[in-house]
């Protein structure tokens, strides 16, 4: 019996050997893997149309391979916080700079090589973040239904009885911009906080739009006559042939900057720094004004930029951050009462 068993084992072994003999075909034209010093891991909350060309150009110019993970600002920042020490992400790109301050422990201070050329309003004192672009808040109106002369020119005009219920404004729960709008109004208008909110709630007459895209859509299609949105969004719709026009509030408006930051313990720290330098480089900043309808943060480009002069107030980020919960609670109560 044992002999038989041994015989069988030998047979099976032979069969197994014949199995092992096949497979393994090398792919033609061997390609070398990417060395670590040519890699960069990027998290971005920008839309692809913004990060795509920049990342592409960065790759082409530096030969560094960029691994992109796109997502929401808060989602990505939470992820960076969780991953801290695991060296997964090298640089975070996009999202309001106030968010970076909130996650300051995740980032390595870094001052980009052209920091002197940047608008000093938008330079982080501790170097936590590097600003990328500024995004002013603007009014839009349907240029078929509203004559240019009649369009609201300032925050105060908006509260006029004739715009009551005709203003498109995004739900604060859906759009981060909407809170900035509220905070800006409080900072700009010569009224008490409570008064501003009450008056604006009344002007909306209980109508809020389902997100920032809906604001432009509603104004474009004539459902609402005026709207409040970011300059970038408005400019893009105008470029796409939308029936809207844009007004910079005469009392001044806020322009919350977005930025990027070097993650603490980044594995490809040098490449990350190169990328940050690249985001504020002349070419990128020029591209973002020309192609992305954004405002540059470089002082040298601001001068030659053909962007309409807007009165930008020194928006108090710190104050806005501290009063966010309080103002939003108040706002939701007022909206509910109004309905």
């Amino acid at each position: 019996m044992t002999v038989r068993r041994r015989f069988l084992t030998a047979l099976l072994a032979a069969a197994a050997l014949s199995c092992a003999g096949c497979g393994n075909r090398a792919a033609e034209g061997a390609v070398e893997t990417v060395p670590e010093e040519k890699k960069l891991v990027l998290y971005t909350s920008h839309k692809e149309e913004v990060y795509g060309p920049i990342v592409k150009e960065f790759e082409e110019r530096t030969g560094i391979w960029v691994q992109v993970t796109a997502g929401g600002t808060t989602e990505l920042l939470d992820r960076i916080q969780e991953e801290s020490g695991k060296d997964s992400c090298d640089v975070m790109f996009g999202g309001g700079v106030e968010s970076y301050d909130a996650y300051r422990e995740c980032f390595e201070p870094y001052y980009c090589n052209q920091v002197d050329l940047l608008d000093e309003t938008y330079v982080s004192k501790e170097g936590i973040w590097t600003v990328f672009s500024e995004l002013p808040i603007v009014f839009i109106y349907n240029n078929k239904l509203v004559a240019a002369g009649e369009a609201p020119q300032g925050w105060e005009d908006l509260l006029d009885e004739k715009w009551k219920g005709k203003i498109a404004f995004a739900d604060t729960g859906k759009s981060g911009t909407s809170y900035t709008v509220l905070a800006t109004m409080i900072q700009v208008m010569d009224m008490e906080e409570q008064e501003v909110l009450e008056a604006f709630a009344e002007a909306l007459d209980g109508n809020v739009s389902d997100g920032s895209k809906a604001v432009v859509d509603e104004v474009d299609s004539g459902i609402r006559l005026v709207g409040i949105t970011l300059e970038e969004t408005a400019k893009k719709r105008i470029a796409a042939g939308g029936d809207i026009a844009m007004v910079y509030p005469k009392e001044g408006t806020s322009a919350v900057p977005d930025g990027c930051a070097l993650v603490k313990g980044a594995q490809h720290s040098e490449n990350a720094q190169l990328f940050i330098d690249f985001t504020v480089s002349n070419d990128v900043q020029r591209l973002l004004t020309e192609q992305f309808c954004r405002r540059t943060v470089r002082t040298d480009l601001q001068k030659e930029s053909d962007s309409a002069p807007a009165k930008i107030i020194a928006f108090d980020l710190k104050w806005a951050g501290e009063h966010q919960d309080e103002i939003l609670t108040e706002w939701s109560i007022l909206l509910e009462n109004g309905e």
Binding site: G21, G29, P53, R286
Partner: protein, 567 residues
């Protein structure tokens, strides 16, 4: 017992069949499948590589066309002059040249001429005119720095319809080598499908990647599997590029110096599924042959065990005494022979038994006769004793001696012991001789001589007496005065007892018969024969009687038996 034999026989047969049937089946099955796979895979791989090479050739050819056209356009005098002078008066002439040069690629690519600051001045397409491309960015910037060379980039458009396109650009330079404009060739994703039409099947996938392994174009399985992304991730993770991906073989070729790669995906011939089904077929076959083996083993074993069983049953019956038992096996093989032999054997056994029975019957008859004729020996003995005393009382000494000697002989001969000492035997012989001397009135003399050392040697009872009797009756029959002498001596571990007489001597005929032990011819010499037979039965053929006629006359008979005090 029979069942067990049947079972184990069946099992052994089954095991044997299984090994013989299944092992080669499984082994050759596995081997065949593996060989088949390797062989087919190799053939297909060759075909696939040819296909990949064909695609590579088409794409490199396409890029070469682009490059040639871009070169011709950038060196076209009409175009250069128009760009140098920034004069749009010759628009038609420029368009004529542009359309002439681009004839062969116009249905798959759009060719535009851009000014040095990135404004599209001439276009073979409809919508590109007056488009603006940043000259500080992307392909135009690269084209400016590349002297006399076309550059190729993957580009993505976000305005309007989002789409990936492959752009090739070449700077138009004036005589001072300054960049005065660009030739830009744009090829949209869908045009690749057109260009590569027919080079790949519905189950294949094709993918074109740029130098950063970003997808320029993908179709078929490559699109479903997003192979570009997969390969890029592999490279970024520092892993080797896979040979196969989700049952597709991956072929990668580099497209010349363009920095582009083309990837061909071909479905795996042997997916895990096919292999599994091939093995299942093999297992089914193995099961079928297993069943077949069980069936054949059962058939064979019953074929073998049936005759064995009937033989065994027949043997049992024979054991019980049924000798007329016969086995009927209508076969011409070994079992048939066995049955024949068995039948012959039982027939012979029956004959033998019958013979035995008849012999026994005879013996029984003799015994009965003997028993009937037998008298109580004690009665004879007592009678002889009485005769002796009556003779003594009546002073007839010869009669007393006769009675006493006869009683002695009788006592020895009726004792149950088969062996007696030589001394006892000789006393018996002496008694016999004395009786015969009285009978034959002193016609002979009897003497014997035994060394003292041999007196206690054991001999079979009554082996000397018949010889002496023979000597008296035959040897000395015609003599007036004869001598009979008995002598014993030891020689080479043998005991020789010699009985010699000086009578007429044994006849040649009888001598010959004695030495040849021919019983039938020994009528009247039965004593010799019996003694010889007794000795041989006890000690074997080496021993027995030797008869000779010495030169001095008479007869000399030597009894040869092993010497010893044991029986």
């Amino acid at each position: 017992m029979r069942e067990r034999i049947g079972n184990s026989f069946k099992k052994k047969l089954l095991a044997g069949f299984l090994i013989v049937a299944l092992v080669p089946l499984i082994f050759s099955g596995v081997f065949l499948i593996r060989m088949f796979k390797i062989r087919i895979a190799r053939d297909y791989q060759k075909k696939d590589m040819e296909q990949a090479a064909a695609i590579e050739e088409i794409l490199t050819g396409l890029l070469k066309d682009f490059s040639d056209i871009a070169e011709r356009l950038s060196k076209d005098e009409e175009i250069r002059i128009t760009f140098m002078e920034k004069d749009s008066g010759n628009r038609n002439a420029v368009y004529t040249h542009l359309y002439d040069e681009t004839r062969q690629i116009r249905d798959i690519a759009q060719v535009d001429l851009y000014s040095s600051d990135g404004i599209c001045l001439f276009s073979t397409g409809a919508s590109a005119l007056h488009n603006r491309m940043p000259d500080y960015w992307g392909i135009l910037k690269v084209a400016q720095t590349h002297q006399d060379e076309m550059v190729v980039r993957r580009d993505k458009e976000y305005t309007g319809e989002t789409g990936v396109l492959l752009r090739a650009a070449r700077a138009i330079r004036n005589d001072r080598d300054e960049c005065i404009g660009f030739v830009v060739i744009s090829m949209r994703e869908e045009s690749f499908g057109q260009a590569l039409n027919g080079t790949y099947g519905t189950q294949d996938g094709i993918c074109i990647l740029n130098s950063f392994w970003e997808t320029v174009y993908e179709a078929g399985t490559a699109e479903r599997e997003n192979i570009g992304g997969v390969l890029r991730d592999c490279l970024l993770r520092g892993e080797n590029l896979p040979d196969t991906w989700n049952d597709n073989r991956v072929y990668i070729s580099r497209l010349g110096e363009s920095g582009l790669y083309s990837i061909l995906l071909r479905p795996e011939i042997f997916t895990a599924d096919t292999t599994r089904s091939m093995y299942s077929v093999m297992i089914l076959m193995a099961l079928a042959s297993l069943l077949f083996c069980v069936g054949v083993a059962a058939g064979m074993s019953s074929n073998l065990s049936k005759p064995l069983k009937s033989l065994s049953q027949a043997m049992d019956r024979v054991k019980k005494g049924e000798l007329e038992t016969r086995v009927v096996i209508e076969r011409r093989d070994e079992f048939g022979q066995l049955a024949d032999n068995f039948n012959t054997m039982t027939a012979e056994l029956k004959d033998y038994m019958e013979k035995q029975v008849s012999q026994q019957k005879q013996i029984d008859e003799i015994n009965i006769a003997m028993m009937q004729s037998q008298l109580n020996p004690h009665f004879l003995y007592n009678t002889l004793d009485t005769i002796k005393w009556v003779a003594k009382a009546n002073h007839i000494p010869e009669l007393a001696t006769l009675a006493a000697k006869l009683a002695k002989i009788l006592r020895t001969s009726i004792s149950s012991a088969q062996f007696i000492t030589l001394k006892e035997e000789m006393e018996l012989v002496d008694s016999y001789a004395q009786i015969q001397q009285i009978r034959f009135a002193g016609k002979f003399e009897f003497s014997y001589e035994i060394p003292e050392a041999l007196e206690e040697y054991m001999v079979p009872k009554l082996i000397v007496q018949p010889i002496v009797e023979n000597a008296i009756i035959h040897g000395l029959a015609e003599c007036e005065e004869g001598h009979i002498h008995v002598q014993a001596l030891q020689e080479n571990g043998e005991l020789h007892i010699t009985v010699s007489d000086d009578g007429c001597g044994i006849s040649d005929e009888v001598l010959e018969h004695l030495n040849s032990r021919n019983r039938k011819q020994l009528e009247g010499h039965i004593g010799f024969y019996n003694v010889d037979t007794i000795i041989r039965l006890h000690y074997g053929d080496r021993y027995g009687l030797k008869v000779c006629r010495p030169d001095e006359g008479g007869t000399k008979v030597t009894i040869v038996i092993p010497a010893g005090k044991e029986k």
